[in-house]
Amino acid sequence: MKRKFDHSAPSESALTGPRYWRSLDELTATPGFQQHLAREFPEGASTLDGVDRRSFMKLMAASFALGGLGLAGCRRPEKNILPFGKSIEGVIPGLPQYFATAMPLRKSAIPLLAETHQGRPTKLEGNPTYAPHGGASSLLAQASVLDLYDPERATVNTSKGDVLSAAAANDLLAGVGKTYAAVQGAGLAFLAEQSSSPTRARLVDQLRAKFPKAVWSEYEPVSDEPPAAAARAVFGAAVKPIYRFAKAERIVSLDADFLSAESGSLYYAREFAKGRRVTKKEDPMNRLYVAESALTLTGSMADHRLRLASSHIYSFAAALAGKITGDAVYARVAEGLDIKPEWIAECAADLAAHKGTSLVVAGAHQPAAVHAIAYAINASLGNIGRTVDFVEVAADESVSISDLAKAITANSVKTLVVLGGNPAYNAPAELNWPALQKSVGEVIRFGYHSDETSALAGTHLAAAHYLESWGDARTADGVVVPVQPMILPLFGGITEIETLARILGLPKTDGYSLVFDTVTALGGGDSAKTFRRFLHDGLLANSAYPIVSVNLSGRGLAQVLGSVAPAVGALSKANLEVRFVTDHTMDDGRFANNGWLQECPDPITKISWDNAILVSPRLGKELGIEPKGSLIQVARKEEADFTQGAENAHVFTLTVGGRTVRGPVHIQPGLSNYTAVVALGYGRTKSGHVGTGAGFSAYAVRTAQAPAFVTGATLVTTGTRMKLANTQEHWSMEGRDLIREANYSEYKENPDYVREMGIESHAPSNLGKVGEAMTPAQRATEIPRGGSLYETPKFDGVHQWGMSIDLNTCIGCNACVVACQAENNIPIVGKDQVMRGREMHWIRLDRYYSDGKADGRAMADLFGGEPSGNSILPEDPQISLQPIACAQCELAPCEIVCPVNATVHDDEGLNTMAYNRCIGTRYCANNCPYKVRRFNFFDYNLRPLDSLYLGQLAPKGMPELVKMVKNPEVTVRMRGVMEKCTYCVQRIQNGKIQHKVKTAQAGRPSDVVVPDGVIKTACQQVCPVESIVFGNILDPKSEVSVAKAREQDYALLGYLNIRPRTTYLGKLRNPNSKMPDYAALPLSRIEYNNKNHSGDHSSSHGEKPEKPAKQSGGHSSVLPSNHSGGLS
């Protein structure tokens, strides 16, 4: 398994020539020698904690030896992985190589390109060949490379505590196959994770044929695809929907977090952004209605958001369907729904006005009936075939974990093979899985970590990481993609398909052969060529699930509706709904030991290293945990008590159906009033140092009957407090002009609304008259001084780098945060340090809520009168998100104050850091208005995070394994040094060098300007919604120049005359003026107007003008109308 592009086949003589042997043992092939060969290292070597550099080098050397120079007779079949076209043939030291692979997750996969440095993968990018993702990738994919080098992953096979050699493990698996082949598999059971792998599907089919009596069950704690039952009932076929958001002008989400949590969300986010992006007045803009209980990323993008309990979504969907279709079948279900009827009526009317260009999406966790209704609405609106396609998928024939549990209880399982997953941690609570698993005679557990399930299994087989594995997978729309190893298994793990093949007793059990056979059978043609193409492109052409036409069966629909009773019972403090959500970073708990993910704050709550029981402000008040605030509330009241910067959360006991769990409660604006939202994936008891003990496990109260939401819960205080690491203490923009928003209707009349906000709109231009007349490119190089006397830096480089961030499309998925962390060797600092406010992320996402009530009457609280808006927490806020990294100010305030010239400008407009020169006065960080500079308060890279305060007494040095993930092109910073974003200067330099080499070779040495789009920053590359655009602003045709030339372009805090190179494009909202919760201006804009022009209250109290009157100053002041606050 080497990485050479072309490798000659073993010669005839090598295969049949004279046989050399090293010892008599080898000649006679004694078992001891065979084991010795398989071992590679002396016994016990691989049980060492982690891998030291020496053995890693041996491992690498061994991979070459095995692949190319092995003894004749021990040769494995040739297994080449093919570098992606971007790389150069062979290895050039210092230059990274890119290989296509994919990250499988449940029933889908994300196609990736892995960047490898001298044989070790360090960074993953989306594979641009897969058009639906356009080169983007997700937060989880970005972080998954760290798992490969997790020093605490399972490194050896164990059996009852003893180390099991690879050969013995093979024998064990083969033995299982042999034993059960005789009895047709009776007594054998498998519990696997969901998988999209065609090879696994093939092997499972073979398994069923060979062991017809064996149980094959699959379990996923969370589902990210619509239930197959809905499609089967309504269409009578095994199909699943693929949404075409780009074509949808009106979108209704029924509790669906399609931008983040659903399978295919990368594609959906990208498509949604296409319909959202407005580059000129004439561009259409989609409108998103969301009814949901939790505040999801999708909900944060909503133009109209209805806070509705998840259990009421069914009735809501029926009511909507009733309005649209006029069908009486829905009436029974819709009964008793307690929301403003206009909401449904106007929403339905809007959808009806957009037949064929509208879309209704139901959340994957919602029951089949809700999906059936959504399908029916889409069918009725003529959306099927236009904004939603149905594709044919294989029917799922696996049994559920509950059925498996029954089989175990019935004592009919003798051998249980647990393939991946972690049922001891996440199986439905009522199964009491740990006891169940212990009752099985032989449990063979195949897993990546030695976790809760392994601890209860007799045998643990160490799994290989997907970056060490041969495999295949399907994307959400069915395209077959390869999973190629970038490196030999660091600890000799095997893959799931290899495990299955060994149980099956197949002649070829290596992953390569298995995948080769599957893919060439699927792809047809010349098998070698097909496979080569497959590996090179990173996907198999024309392998997507076929789109089929479907016919709605009214009877099927009626049946589904008839079978599920509506549940619109009033919720209250004594009858709470609990909504279990997949965590943004931990997923279902499988990424618990990933430090990047643990430290990445939740995009909405901004809590890292923990989960919390999220409750609405109203419920918070009823529970008596609403923070008190101050006597005079100068700024808006915080949503939590913050003690010395850490959130001091009340710990409550959540009781559902007699089961309890304790967890901290966090007040979260925007939730349905009586829904407690709990993220899964925390509270691991057997993970590594990173994952163990972070948060609490909500699986303890979660049953198979109600995996996503359940009612009848209560919250009781324990009277104790717990500190949470919340990275954003304050939620309100305080009426400042940070995120400038307008409604789409206003924008069309007044496209440069951003210029009418902020201090610049009241002050003479910083650029002066001369500067105002310049083009952006001129401004960048000449830096017009305006009224300033000071000399300004010379920007005479051939490139002038700049960035534009479109706030209108940013969905806040956090992928950029972790992509930046992976690219720039940013350390994690641990919960304790995050609580102190010392997180190191170079790019962060600021999340603000607005409710239109910040009115600047802070004194009202003290001097009587109505309580001011400042002492109110918003129940139904609008959410605004803003990614912030160093803006590379042309007149950088950080540079002026650095006494030692450690942060200076280069001639291409980058504000660079000379780490070696930095002595750490931190003055630059103080003077940075964006607060994007990060200081190494400790040796985060060298000292264990739990002994930072021990100083020199703490162990020193980074584990060798962790060093492997570092990007060799970026300095690893030591303590006492300031650091920050430099637009990925290493990528810029690489791009420039490569371009220079290319043009010099082509005889055009003077052509040194890198073409637009060649250099991408890490955050830009990963962004699924293409919010971030980076490039040369001297080139008027570059994407970034075009973006900056747009009317919504503004500089954050531009009045400071710091002239940031990163500018923002204003945010737009597209509300429906007929909706009951319509506000003529975005709520943040109302707050801005009230704070800055509080005298202007003349216009429209209570009225709802169709469009805001355009006033000369643009400061129309409109109070928000009452929001329909969901079910109350």
Binding site: R736, N927, L948
Partner: protein
Amino acid sequence: MGAHHESSSTAPAILAEVNPTALPRAILVENNRSYSWITEKICGIIEGKTPTWWWVCFALACFVASFTVAGISYLVATGVGVWGHANPVNWAWDIVNFVFWIGIGHAGTLISAILCLLRQKWRTSINRAAEAMTIFAVVCAGIFPVFHVGRVWYAFYLFPIPNSNAIWQNFRSPLEWDVFAVSTYGTVSVLFWYVGLLPDLAILRDRFEAAGQRARSFIYGFFAMGWRGSNRHWSNYEMAYLVLAGISTPLVLSVHTIVSFDFAVSLLPGWHTTIFPPYFVAGAIFSGFGMVLTLMLPLRAVYGLQDLITQYHIDCMCKITLATGTIVGYAYGMEFFIAWYSANPNEGFAFVNRAFGHYAWAYWIMISCNVITPQFFWFKSVRHNTSLVWILSIFVNVGMWFERFVIIVTSLARDFLPSSWGYYSPSIVEIFTFFGTFGVFSVLFLLFIRFLPIMPMAELKAVTPQADVHGGEKH
């Protein structure tokens, strides 16, 4: 002097001309003390047996100073993280303490230099100790900017030392200006103090010589640099002293002006304000006099120096404290006016937040101590109640520490982007490090009062009534 006037008033009932009586000059050395009394009194402190209380205080001071040593050692060994700093509050107690100590260091040079130039003779009995206080305060102040940096072993990058990379310092940075301002101030203060010590060191040399204590005589003689008290020496000495006073005078104003630039030159709301230089200088003098009172009143009581540090001195210092305290109070008000008048919402918020936000407690401590406390000095009865003056002077010191805290921390904690707002609390290491600097200061000051003349004997003698050749007669 009043007595002299009375005795000479044997004139006729009708005056030849109206000759208004000059306001009586305050007596600077009371009880008509002789030259030798002064010499004995001051030299006696050094020559006498070391009192027990001194040893107790010295041991205690050393113990307290060890907190700073331990705190700094731990800091250097571990990282700045042992302090409470975090984004967005990247400066806190370190710079607060720096400005606090530097501010205290202002009174000494002001008393020595400016009052010297203005011929305020009452300065003589307090200037030596005040100058010593200045130097020790600068020592304490210097600890913080040096050790608050992340990599103290590279702190020499701050000095324009030629290096192989030919990288210069950034002369646009106020921190760099600080380096020059503080080091210049420290150097000149030491020189000024030392020059003033020369005649007194010579007295001690001679007295130890006479007492047969050769070793001590040699040491004092070494530092007395061959002072013989000749007319030539005196004339050179007077000129040197005057020149140094001239050099020091602008430094008194410049050091704190430049320290204030650390804030005024930045763009942070609450820092970025042109009122800072005069406001900081006034505050520094205010705190400096506060500290002089805090130190001199116990000293006066312990050594029985009531004749040398008279009620008149205390009155003068109280009045200066009152004046500068009122200027500081005015500045606090003016800040609000400027913030409002600028119409910049960020500025406005910064100041409202100071007074009513999360750190309002610090703001109101500051206002109570700095604005209200000095107002008591309007009343003669207060100025004459030494204990009360001492207590009030402590309040001034506390208030001025809080002023720096309010300026630095509240502005940083809540600046432009609410997403980055935070709250700073000191760590135990920080608290002890600061606490320890009082020990460092005390150790140095105790050594000073034990081994050096705490008052300039020669100058004192020049302001005694008997030094007046006219015996108080007016001409």
